[in-house]
């Protein structure tokens, strides 16, 4: 039974009255903060008790313990702290760091005897059972493994804390039990989130003689420096004095099986490090048996629910777009919010909807990257059910949440994506293979497999999984109703690139990509490219599609001529000739139609230039108008040689 020795209120109480509702005998909410009533305090004072930390009087600590703990747990800003009486136990986890620090003996996991194990193992499992799992992750794979490892660690009586290396200091390496799970990026580099910690550890850091560790490295054998980041940590930790309890695992692209093989052995061994830092190798087998006797030891696919890497609470100002279709009015609501950084944008919107304004309309997802949750947050196109707040805004900053651009707005953050859906259906991107001789074996099964390179390229292209979001990345979709949009076009190009597609369908797909509404309708791919990894993939797919279309349709259309003459004039002089480019791209009729703009350019009408005579001199000498003939760059023959070596079409 829990007995509370002291209870107090830390700063930042939001006076929500929850504590007083739960336990009015102890808490009284005033204008600025909740208070601890004088009647329950040994010192008889009336304040937050944060300074004096006066004990509770008489038997109140026992009588009201459950209510005080309930109030502390329900406090939305976690400012109610308490300390347990010595010798008492707390059935609920102590919410205050102070409580944990001051009364380590009360934690169940720290002191409870372990049933069904030898005395020696029970002794090892007493006291501090903390395990630090650091991850270095570029794409999230290592972070996912860290979470899964933490979940399994509980079976070994360990209390695991998963830490992003970005949030870890070099001093945090100095711990009793340490597991490092890291991927390798590029040519043997650390993932971005590991770089700072690695630099700090490489430069020095504390002695780790009391630390036992093991490393799991993820890499790709197609690179020369396979798992280099893992090797670097493995060697560096040892150099800093840490003791390796288990050999490093090297995981290839299919990283789960080798991780599974590593994690059970690694946890069995690191769990045999006792609170004093002594490794009991003779108990490893028993520890392994103990862990597998639990109910929760399965690591089969599907068993894992992705956890969260926790981060500090943030105070932010939310500006959320509102649109009322009935009144036809729009604007922004501004709300001050406090949420942990690991909360998603969707969590925030749900909190606003529950606590501030239930009329806020937005689409909810299942927390796994639901395409329909796409919206714009601080300029980025994101899926709100998976995007963390701390990825978008810093503590004290402003988060601007707007509906996904490029779609008609239905209400608030809800858009009508039916245009994309209709365009996808009309474009028919599904695969239609041509029948071919010998396509099946005598037993009826298909023959042949796709070349590995083609399969990899195809899979990479299909990483773009939210056409609605991709549609919103373009700055020109709102201005061109005929434009199918990058989401649909990427799907079409993916299909056109699929070697299994029939020739007729490929021709049809390329024609759709080339025609009005196709890839040439996009006026600026860089606007798409800036939208994170997904944006880069979409922009690259559209660039690749354009390259193919230029060859297929021989630089047809204005856009084709633009690229051809741009490249050609660069080849001729080393620099772009704007005059020739405009004339050749627009053609004589286009040039006449464009005369007003040409005159405007020639006269420098709105510009802050020199006199008109200087503007017009550009036709023969440098001036406002671009020259008709460019001067050659130095060593122009080199430019021409590069063109000749790489592309003779120009």
């Amino acid at each position: 039974m829990a007995v509370i020795a002291k209870v107090w209120i830390e700063p930042d109480c939001i006076t929500c009255n929850a504590c007083e509702d739960i336990c009015p005998d102890v808490f009284k909410v005033e204008e600025d903060s909740s208070m601890i009533l004088a009647a329950v305090r040994a010192d008889g004072a009336y304040d937050t008790n944060a300074g004096a930390k006066s004990p509770l009087s008489g038997t109140l600590g026992a009588d009201l313990a459950d209510l005080i703990i309930e109030a502390a747990e329900d406090c939305p800003v976690e400012v109610i702290k308490y300390e347990l009486a010595e010798g008492a136990t707390d059935d609920a986890p102590a919410p205050a760091a102070e409580a944990e620090a001051d009364a380590p003996a009360v934690a169940v996991a720290d002191s409870a005897p372990v049933a069904g194990v030898s005395e020696a193992l029970a002794a090892v499992m007493e006291g501090d059972r903390s395990l630090t799992i650091l991850f270095g992750s570029q794409t999230g794979n290592a972070a996912g493994l860290a979470e899964r490892t933490a979940k399994l660690a509980a079976n070994y009586g360990l209390q695991a804390t998963v830490k992003d290396m970005d949030d870890a200091s070099v001093d945090s390496l100095s711990t009793t039990r340490l597991m490092v799970i890291t991927s390798t990026w590029g040519e043997g580099e650390m993932p971005d989130n590991a770089e700072a910690l690695w630099q700090a550890a490489s430069a020095g850091g504390p002695s780790l003689s009391a630390t036992h560790f093991t490393v799991c490295a993820i890499g790709d054998t197609s690179y020369d420096e396979f798992c280099k980041a893992g090797h670097d940590w493995n060697n560096r930790l040892e150099a800093m004095g840490a003791v390796r309890v288990h050999a490093m695992a090297e995981c290839d692209v299919d990283y789960v099986p080798p991780w599974q093989a590593w994690v059970s052995e690694a946890l069995s061994r690191i769990a045999c490090v006792d609170a004093s830092g002594t490794f009991h190798e003779t108990l490893v087998e028993e520890m392994s048996a103990f862990a597998s006797s639990g109910d929760d030891d399965s690591i089969a696919d599907g068993d894992f629910t992705p956890g969260q890497v926790l981060s500090e609470e943030m105070s932010i100002t939310l500006r959320v777009f509102r649109y009322d279709p009935v009144a036809s009015s729009s604007g922004f609501d501004t709300v001050a919010c406090a949420l942990p950084g690991h909360a998603t944008v969707q969590d925030l919107l749900v909190a606003i909807s529950n606590d501030v304004d239930g009329s806020l309309a937005f689409r909810r997802g299942n927390g796994a990257g639901t395409p329909t949750t796409a919206l714009r947050a601080n300029g980025r196109i994101v899926l709100s059910d998976v995007t963390r707040l701390d990825a978008l805004v810093n503590d004290g900053g402003t988060l601007l949440v707007e509906p996904l651009p490029g779609h008609p707005i239905v209400k608030d953050l809800i858009v009508d994506a039916s245009r994309v859906e209709r365009a996808l259906a009309a474009a028919a991107p599904w695969m239609r293979a041509d029948p071919r001789e010998g396509e099946v074996l005598a037993n009826g099964s298909s023959m042949g497999t796709m070349a590995a390179v083609a399969a990899e390229d195809l899979h990479r292209r299909f990483d773009v999984h939210a056409p609605e979001a991709a549609h919103g990345m373009s700055d020109c979709t709102p201005h061109d109703p005929s434009y199918l949009g990058p989401g649909v076009l990427t799907r079409l190009w993916q299909r056109a690139s699929d070697p299994r597609v029939g020739a007729e369908q490929r021709r049809s797909l390329l024609r759709t990509l080339q025609d009005e509404g196709g890839v040439w309708s996009e006026t600026d791919l860089s606007a798409i490219r800036r939208q994170g990894q997904e944006g880069r993939l979409v922009a690259e797919a559209m660039t690749d599609a354009r390259g193919r279309l230029l060859s297929e349709f021989r630089f047809a259309g204005r856009s084709g001529r633009h690229i051809k003459w741009f490249s050609r004039t660069v080849k001729w002089s080393g620099t772009l000739n704007e005059t020739i480019l405009a004339a050749q791209t627009m053609g004589p009729i286009g040039a006449i139609m464009n005369l007003p703009a040409t005159v405007r350019m020639a006269t420098g009408f709105t510009r802050t230039g020199a006199p008109l005579a200087r503007d017009l001199q550009g036709f023969v000498a440098p001036g406002k108008m671009p020259p008709l003939v460019n001067s050659l760059v130095d060593d122009h023959h080199e430019v021409k040689a590069i063109f000749d070596a790489l592309d003779r079409r120009f």
């Binding site: 040519e187 601080n378 300029g379 980025r380 700055d475 020109c476 201005h479 061109d480 040439w520 309708s521 996009e522 006026t523 600026d524 791919l525 860089s526 606007a527 800036r530 660039t543 354009r546 390259g547 630089f555 259309g557 856009s559 633009h562 690229i563 051809k564 741009f566 490249s567 660069v570 080393g574 620099t575 772009l576 000739n577 704007e578 405009a582 791209t585 627009m586 007003p596 703009a597 350019m601 709105t606 510009r607 802050t608 230039g609 550009g618 001036g623 406002k624 108008m625 671009p626 760059v633 130095d634 060593d635 080199e638 430019v639 040689a641 590069i642 063109f643 070596a645 790489l646 592309d647």
Partner: protein, 286 residues
């Protein structure tokens, strides 16, 4: 000793926007920056050539990088398109050793040079904020820009890394600089939106609607002048202003200057042109 950079003005600054060149020379003189010309540098490809042949554009840019590397200097450009495009190619070459080796093979055969990657691409805006420093810029201001200005970044530069230490999705360097030269920056969404310059010749109507949206938004938010960090986008915003109005029906009349021009004016250079701009702002503004 002042700052030194290999100078890559970009084709448009050498062609239809020579006022960028005029102003750049004045600005660097006032701020004690030395620009070392690169007379052999070729066009960056502007993301256009890449669509036909990315390896070709990469190799031409690698040649330019090799020239700057031989000087031992970082490259400075006043053009957001050049910056975005060349930064992207530089990052690609640095990240992919195999690609770099193949590009170097061609470079060696055609030009007798190799590129190792010891340089950075810098836009004027980054150099002013990160290298020169806003305090130093403020100290050199002679004619404060005492009217509201809408800064326009140029989307190609607003990519991770290409915008220096500025946040590419929520940049503030331009606004910080405008404050340093005495102006009150206009807060408008269009500052980071595309005006569709790459599609100007191919998809003119769409580009005009995009251009009109940015101009009218800036004007609505109180801008008397727009300053651009991209001579290519400037082309849409300035030369095509009337056409954008005709296509969209929006109010697009707004004086547009290049960032180096506005800076030169603030630093006391070209006072006649500054007077012209102020007059135009008064006549066209509000």
């Amino acid at each position: 000793m002042g700052l030194r950079y290999a100078y890559f003005p970009g084709c448009v600054a050498k062609g239809s926007a020579r006022e960028v060149e005029d102003a750049m020379r004045a600005v660097v003189k006032a701020l004690d920056i030395e620009l070392v010309d690169m007379p052999g540098a070729a066009c960056c490809g502007a993301g256009v050539m890449k669509q036909a042949n990315h390896r070709l554009q990469l190799t031409l840019n690698a040649r330019t990088f090799a020239q700057a590397e031989a000087m031992g200097l970082d490259v400075l450009t006043p053009c957001a398109t050049c910056q975005g495009n060349m930064y992207e190619d530089l990052a690609l070459l640095l990240d992919d050793e195999k690609l770099r080796a193949e590009v170097n093979d061609v470079l060696e055969k055609t030009c007798g040079v190799r590129f190792e990657g010891n340089l950075r691409m810098r836009h004027l805006l980054q150099v002013l904020v990160e290298d020169v420093g806003l305090e130093a810029v403020r100290d050199h201001v002679v004619n404060p820009v005492d009217f509201p200005v809408a800064g326009y970044y140029g989307v190609p530069m607003l990519q991770d890394g290409a915008s220096g230490d500025d946040d590419p999705m929520d940049p503030h360097y331009f606004e910080d600089l405008l404050v340093a030269i005495g102006s009150s920056p206009v807060d408008y969404d269009g500052a980071t939106r595309s005006v569709g310059f790459p599609g100007l010749l191919g998809r003119e109507r769409t580009a005009m609607l995009q251009t009109a949206e940015v101009l009218s938004e800036a004007k609505q938010e109180g801008a008397l002048v727009m300053a651009t960090a991209c001579p290519l986008s400037h082309f849409n915003l300035d030369v095509y202003q009337v056409k954008a109005k005709k296509v969209s029906g929006r109010d697009t009349a707004l004086p547009v200057v290049h960032l180096p021009e506005l800076l030169a004016f603030a630093l006391g250079m070209m006072p006649d042109r500054y007077a012209q701009l102020r007059t135009r702002a008064l006549v066209m503004g509000a």
